[in-house]
Amino acid sequence: MMVFEGVTFAYEPSRPVLRDASLALGPGLSLLVGPNGCGKSTLLKLAAGVERPDRGRILIDGIDLWEREVEARHALAYLPEFPDITPYATLRDVLRLVCRLRGEPKATGVKALEIFGLVNEADHSVRELSSGQRKRALFAAAFIGWPGHIFLDEPLDALDRQISDDVLKWIGERTASGATLVVVSHAIEPLAGLVTRAVTVRDGSCTVHEGLPAEPAARLRFLDALARGKDEFDAA
């Protein structure tokens, strides 16, 4: 369970992205939708501990993300929209770091590289990789340690069709295994069948839309309307 309690956050004090927002997302796939700039990626960064709330707190399985930093982060994995991997290390170095921090054997990192087809690129720097390869590298990091909370920002961007299919399959498996997945995506169609609930951010507050239409076409229309910034009643 990932919980936001009265979270306020602003890059500029006069323009808060979130204002006293509260939210609780349990197991299943929560799809964060909405127009550009509404605060979806920021919400995900807050949940992943990349940004710290100006006020309020964020709990991962009841553990405060900024009080017990290491413990809370053991349970989460984050895939940013722009895969920022340091150019001063190789992919193998980065995955070994993740293994060490999550208390996993090095072999898990090697296995993750194999699963995401990056064995040949393991000793390359990020500068030599395409955008899709960088994204796959961070998927491989998310695989290590089997974290129960997974935050994905535009996970299907820049991926080829085969890897996209593999990622969707992986998302489905993790959802079925009881993990909490929060995904920001403008590509709704591939994910619509897997979505448990939708989340929107508007004017600094978050709304969780449970009980999505079961019929695929109606569900897609509903999610599409939310993504265009319409409210729940208009969407329905």
Binding site: Y11, G49, A77, Y78, F82, D84, A89, T90, R96, L101
Partner: protein, 434 residues
Amino acid sequence: MGPSMRPERALVLFHLRVGARLALRVLAPVLAACLFVYYILRPEFTLEIARILFVEASLLEAGLAGTLLLLGLARIVAPRLAAGSGGWARSLPADSATRRLAAVLSMLVAEAPLLAVLGALAWAVTDPGPMPGVAYIVRVAEHVVRVAPHIAGLVLGATAAGLARLPPLPSLPMRVLPLAACYLSFGRDPAVVGVSGLLLALAAALSVRTAPARRRHGPRRRLLSFAFFPALALRAVRGRILLAYLPAVFVLGAAWLFLRNNDLSARPAFALSLFGLSLAITAFIATAADILASRRPVWPWLRSLPLSAAARVRDDALLLALLALPLAIGLALLRRPAAEAVYLFGPVAWFAIRGAGTMREAGDRPFGTLGTVAVEGTILSLLLALLPTASFLLAAATPMAFLLARNAERRLKPTLWSERHHSNAGDPLSWSAS
């Protein structure tokens, strides 16, 4: 759709604005330095240095000193102005020659405050003095004629240094021409300055044709997993870390010379050596932290891994403290090394943690990491010289500095664009975009 502006004009205007903005940012430290020089070192000292540079020194001396000065300035300004110039900007409708020359012009504007100070000094030291029986206007004209080669030389030299330092860096043979132009610009003789101008024109013409491709290769050797973060930091700064030792060595050398050439009693000698050592450590840590903050910016994704903010600060502080250890060799130059070593524990611990902390706030501070640590360090070094036991107070206060640094790390908004991220190396997004 309105009439479009000529690309050259649009680019020049854009770069002038960028240069002016940077100039405004550096104006405050330049003014502060001028006030420091005027009130602390006294005008006589400054004018003497200027007289040596502009009047008395030979071409060899003036050329070398001036070239080093202008190259150093260009080294600071160039990456701040060239950020992003290798990417999307290349898709705009302007040729590479225009882009490069507009960026050099922008550098000149950004360096204008310091060049104006140098120009004013040149004016002051080339005063022809009283000319009895000569009209005032003739005297002023004589003064202008004397100073003109210096002013023209400064502008030419700064342009040449900009051309040599502007990314993407030209190949070494292609840097010889602008460096020669910069060197000759301090020639004082109008003919030599003219040659400098010709060389500069040639260098400008050649540099736009031979812009090197960007290197994309990365590390090949594995990092040691137990020393991942220090090794990562050292890879980010590479040989630049040696530059951080230069000001420290300079301070230590000055302290050593003072002690050698003055017969001081035990107490003042101890105070001076403690001051010198503490200031040297400050100078090193301030410069090293500044280089590190610029070359290895915050890595947003790392913050989602199970590693605490305190651990990230601790790793940086330990690295800075370890890198400062070679300065302990300075102890051997002084009189009572064992005593000074005991008193240095406090400053090393304090400044290493302050360096790691201010790196996290560099974007919010007008003088960045370098200015903040240098100012604090100078004040605390003076305090230590007057009251050596303050070292133990500093050591006792390091947990507080650590908490401040940890809070700064937590407060940091890594996705917020800040002016600190001025170069490709300093911009975390460039990690994904380069």
